[in-house]
Every structure is written in C-alpha cells, then in structure tokens.
C-alpha cells in the first residue's frame, strides 16, 4: 500500500460530526484515559498515539474486514486509517465522540480504496446491483426452516463475508455499524432509495445464504 502523505481527504471534518450520533453511542461508550491520550497525541506524543491504537485497533480492523471481506486488504487499510489519524488528529475538536470520528475516517479510507480499485459499487448506483446469480431470489418461502433463534455469530459473520460486495457494504454500514440511509447515500454517492433497496436485497440474500447453510447441516 502507498504510504504517501498525499491528502486523501478522508477526514470527517472538525465541524461535521455524524448526523445521528446517538445511533453510534451504543458502540462508542466513553473510554477511560482516552481523552488524555487524544490531547497528548494531538501534541505529537507517540506513546499516547500508541494507546489510541491499542484502544481502537480492534474496532477499526473489524470494520475494514467486514467491509472488504479480505484479511490482507483489511490490515493494509487499518494501517492507512491510523496513518491518516496521525496526520489528522490535530483537527479533532471533540464535536462528536472520538471513536465516531475515527470510525468515519476509517469508513472513508475503505471507500477511497474501493474507488481507486474502480469497483463500481461505490460510484454508479445502477451498478450497485450485483449480477442476477448473486442476487437474492424473490422469496424462497419458509416452509422448511425458520432462522429465528438459530443463527450464531460465526455463521452470520461467514454469511456476511459471502454477500456480493455492493450488498455487503450497505448491510455492514447500516445493520452492523448503525449508519442511517442518508449517511450511507452520502458515503456511497447513491440515492437514499437505492441504499434502502440494497439493504433489503442484502438481508434477503443473507436469508438465502443462512437457510441454505441450515439445509446442508440438516442433511449431514
């Protein structure tokens, strides 16, 4: 990956907190010692920056991994996100929770990466559509199995990994990370309606994947 100091314009901006901060608070509880570490890191203290890395590496990496579905890319972009953090931390003003701000920075790093790769799902909304064979069927019925109460975390994580990239992005941003459709539409440069539609298709596809997994288990 490039370690160029070129400004990738990935910072959320000191005056642009997340539009729905409460939505993110469930995942952003205050962390003891964080405020002091931020202050010192803003002044250039390397040890404090390391503390911030230790506090947030799991969340940033998990986000990258879920959005990308690829360990090597997720590690590269975690690295890039923290380098961006180092360069931009002085602009953090505390208008939103630090973790919300860092999280948005990491999302932007991933989206920038996807745009550079030329993946269509973050540029043209009509190409958000996965191919027909990737998409969910209209309704597979529920005559054999229902999912309720039967899906563990590992199974769900694996099913999310297997979603087509366009579906996975919207699903992870909305259902896992708690972003609103208007925020996602802004990030992905698509319409709000398109974000809603992609989310629904992603859930339908996940249902397909989870049910087919259950059928295989039932056969074994």
């Amino acid at each position: 990956m490039s370690l160029s100091s070129k400004d990738l314009a990935t910072t959320p901006g000191p005056t642009a907190p997340a539009k729905a901060p409460n939505q993110h608070l469930r995942r952003n509880p205050p962390i003891a010692g964080e405020a002091e570490a931020i202050q010192k890191a803003q002044a250039g203290d390397g040890a404090s920056f390391e503390i911030l890395y230790a506090l947030h590496k799991r969340r940033v990496y998990s986000l990258c991994l879920r959005m990308l579905g690829n360990v090597a890319e997720a590690e590269d972009l975690t690295q890039e996100a923290f380098l961006q953090l180092y360069r931009k931390i002085a602009t953090f003003r505390g208008d939103s929770a630090f973790s919300t701000w860092l999280h948005r920075l990491a999302v932007n790093v991933v989206l920038m990466h996807l745009r550079k790769k030329g993946l269509p799902q973050v540029s043209l909304e009509e190409t958000l559509e996965p191919s027909q064979e990737d998409g969910p069927r209209k309704d597979i019925g529920a005559r054999d199995l229902t999912l309720s109460g039967s899906v563990d975390r590992v199974t769900l994580e694996r099913a999310i990994e297997n979603l087509p990239p366009g579906y996975r992005l919207v699903f992870v941003l909305h259902d896992v990370e708690g972003y609103e459709h208007n925020e996602i539409a802004g990030m992905l440069e698509c319409s709000i309606g398109n974000s809603k539609s992609q989310l629904h298709k992603a859930r339908m596809k996940l249902r397909d994947l989870l049910k087919s997994g259950q059928r295989k288990e039932a056969v074994l």
Binding site: L3, S5, A43, G44, D45, G46, F49, E50, Y53, K57, R58, R59, Y61, S62, L63, L65, A74, E75, T78, Q79, F82, L83, Y86, R87, A90, K138, D139, I140, G141, A142, R143, T146, L147, S148, G149, V151, R153, L156, E157, I160, F171, D175, V176, G178, H181, K196, S197, L199, H200, R203, M204, L206, R207, L210
Partner: protein, 87 residues
Amino acid sequence: MNNARKAANGTTADCAVFQEQLPSLFESNEDLSAQEHLKTCNNCSALVRDLEYIAQQAKLLLPIHDPSPEVWENIQTALRKEPTRAK
C-alpha cells in the same frame, strides 16, 4: 380470487405485492404484524420474522477481530518517515 391462488412454492400474487412494499415497510418502523396480508400468509410472516431477526443479530455483532502485530510495526515504520509535528 386470483390473488389467493397459490403457486407451487406457496406464494400468491398478494405475496409479490407485499414483498414489493417490504423495504419501505421496514423503514417506516411500523408494527408489521398489523399488516393484513401477514394475518393470512405464513410464508410472508416467516420472511418478515427472518429479516427482522437478521437485522437484530447484525446489531449484536461486536468488533472481535484483531489485526496482526505487523500492522502496528508497519505503522511505526511509516510514522518514522512522517514529518515531525510541532509539539
């Protein structure tokens, strides 16, 4: 009564109409169990239950993955090349 005629997979034309509306119904946050169609359609009831369950379970997914130690080593190496910030 064409709408009530079931296809081989147990769905009806009403199901297709209902499922077309599902994305906006989910976003409206209204109680879907009050939908007339769901009172008589087991397939769509199960579909709604499953989609709600998936959304609920996704919200419970926590960040559990850790990057390898090499990530921090690479960051440190890169930071050494960064211009020093004024303290």
